[in-house]
């Protein structure tokens, strides 16, 4: 008999309670309530370290699209804020160089290409290399030979140009046996400060 009485009462009490809570919540101004809460005091009471310990950081990082984040960043602005001098000051250059495989680096360098870029004329005139060459090369006789040969080659070219002009052909310099000629290389730059030498004098017809 007791159970028959208590069950309907309990059910009624439950409904009344739900209705009351519903009315209270509806009549409650949450914004006003939040304004009355001292958030700083509340945050002070939170143990952030303990909270962070409970977060699975790796799981969070896994869900971050790093490319998207980087794509949204203004790299120029970011780099402008970087103090390169400070950064370099913190780098141990010796340690860095110790880790470099110089042999492998040199293997990757096209030495011929590097040599091609050297301004030999400027090198001879502006360094002691010129003195070495001057000491090792002949004197007046050698100079006279160079000039004589230059003149002869210049005359060769003059004649060849005129002959080709008469034959209505375009002259493009003397050919040579393909077996002897190496691949054509661009002439190294000639320093404007360097005077022309005993060069081949080619007279334009």
């Amino acid at each position: 008999m007791g159970k028959r009485v208590t069950d309907p009462v309990e059910s009624l009490a439950q409904r009344v309670a739900e209705r009351v809570v519903d009315l209270v919540v509806r009549s409650l101004d949450v914004n006003a309530l939040v304004q009355q809460v001292d958030l700083n005091a509340l945050v002070d009471r939170v143990d952030v370290a303990k909270l962070v310990d409970r977060v699975d950081v790796e799981k969070v990082v896994d869900r971050v699209d790093v490319n998207k984040v980087v794509g949204q960043m203004d790299m120029d602005q970011l780099l402008a804020k970087v103090n390169v001098d400070d950064l370099l000051a913190r780098v141990d250059i010796n340690q860095l160089l110790a880790q470099v495989d110089v042999a492998a680096l040199i293997d990757r360098v096209d030495v011929n290409e590097v040599a091609r870029r050297i301004d030999i004329d400027a090198l001879v005139t502006q360094t002691d290399l010129g003195a070495v060459i001057a000491k090792s090369s002949g004197g007046i006789v050698g100079n006279a030979l160079d000039v004589g040969r230059s003149s002869a080659v210049g005359l060769d070219e003059f004649i060849a140009r005129w002959v080709d002009r008469f034959r209505r052909r375009r002259y493009s310099g003397p050919p040579g046996p393909p077996e002897l000629l190496q691949p054509a290389r661009p002439a190294p730059p000639v320093s404007p400060a360097v005077a022309p030498g005993p060069a081949i004098s080619v007279v334009e017809p």
Binding site: I120, D121, V124, T125, Q126, T127, D128, L129, G130, A131, V132, I133, A134, S137, G138, G142, N143, L145, D146, V147, G148, R149, S150, A152, V153, G154, L155, D156, E157, F158, I159, A160, V163, R167, G173, P174, P175, G176, P177, P178, E179, L180, L181, A187, P188, V190, V194, A195, P196, G197, P198, A199, I200, S201, V202
Partner: protein, 171 residues
């Protein structure tokens, strides 16, 4: 000596032109004839001392002419076979090679020497190939299978010139 930089005009290993070859030939003829004349004069002097008679040999003598031609043959053939260049060619910086770019053989040198007069005998027409042919080969070159190239390194000459005329900056 205002001229364009030789660095841009280094013709080493390219076919040599008419002026260089003609100049080299003139020098060779002058040199070989001079040497021969001196040798004949020396031989005449020795003969006159030994025989105690006045001996005067010159090229009007048929024997002397034959010896002269033999000497010229030896001079050119030996020079081309040994190094590809005669004295005159060495001065002008040109060299005889095989047409395929290899060094001239002794056989080619001999044939070239024997065929050389042909270029003259055809009223000089044999030399026209130097002017008109792509590879600048005269008749005697075509017969012997040879060619003439520049062996002079103009670039090196230019560097020597620069080294002489522009002393390094003192430290």
């Amino acid at each position: 000596m205002t001229a364009p930089p030789a660095a841009q005009l280094n013709f080493q290993d390219r076919f040599a032109g008419a002026a260089s070859r003609l100049t080299a030939y003139v020098i060779d003829v002058a040199f070989s004839t001079g040497v021969f004349t001196l040798a004949v004069a020396g031989a005449s002097f020795v003969a006159s001392v030994i025989t105690n008679q006045s001996v005067s040999w010159n090229r009007t003598n048929i024997v002397v002419t034959i010896i002269y031609l033999l000497w010229e043959f030896l001079y050119f053939a030996y020079s081309w076979a040994a190094s590809g260049k005669t004295f005159g060619m060495a001065l002008l910086g040109v060299r005889v090679i095989s047409a395929d770019g290899a060094a001239a053989t002794a056989r080619q040198a001999v044939i070239r020497t024997l065929a050389f007069p042909l270029s003259f005998l055809l009223l000089g027409l044999g030399f026209l190939g130097i002017l008109l042919q792509h590879d600048r080969r005269a008749l005697h070159d075509l017969i012997a299978g040879t060619a003439v190239i520049y062996s002079w390194d103009a670039r090196a000459a230019r560097l020597r010139f620069l080294a002489r005329d522009n002393p390094p900056i003192p430290r």
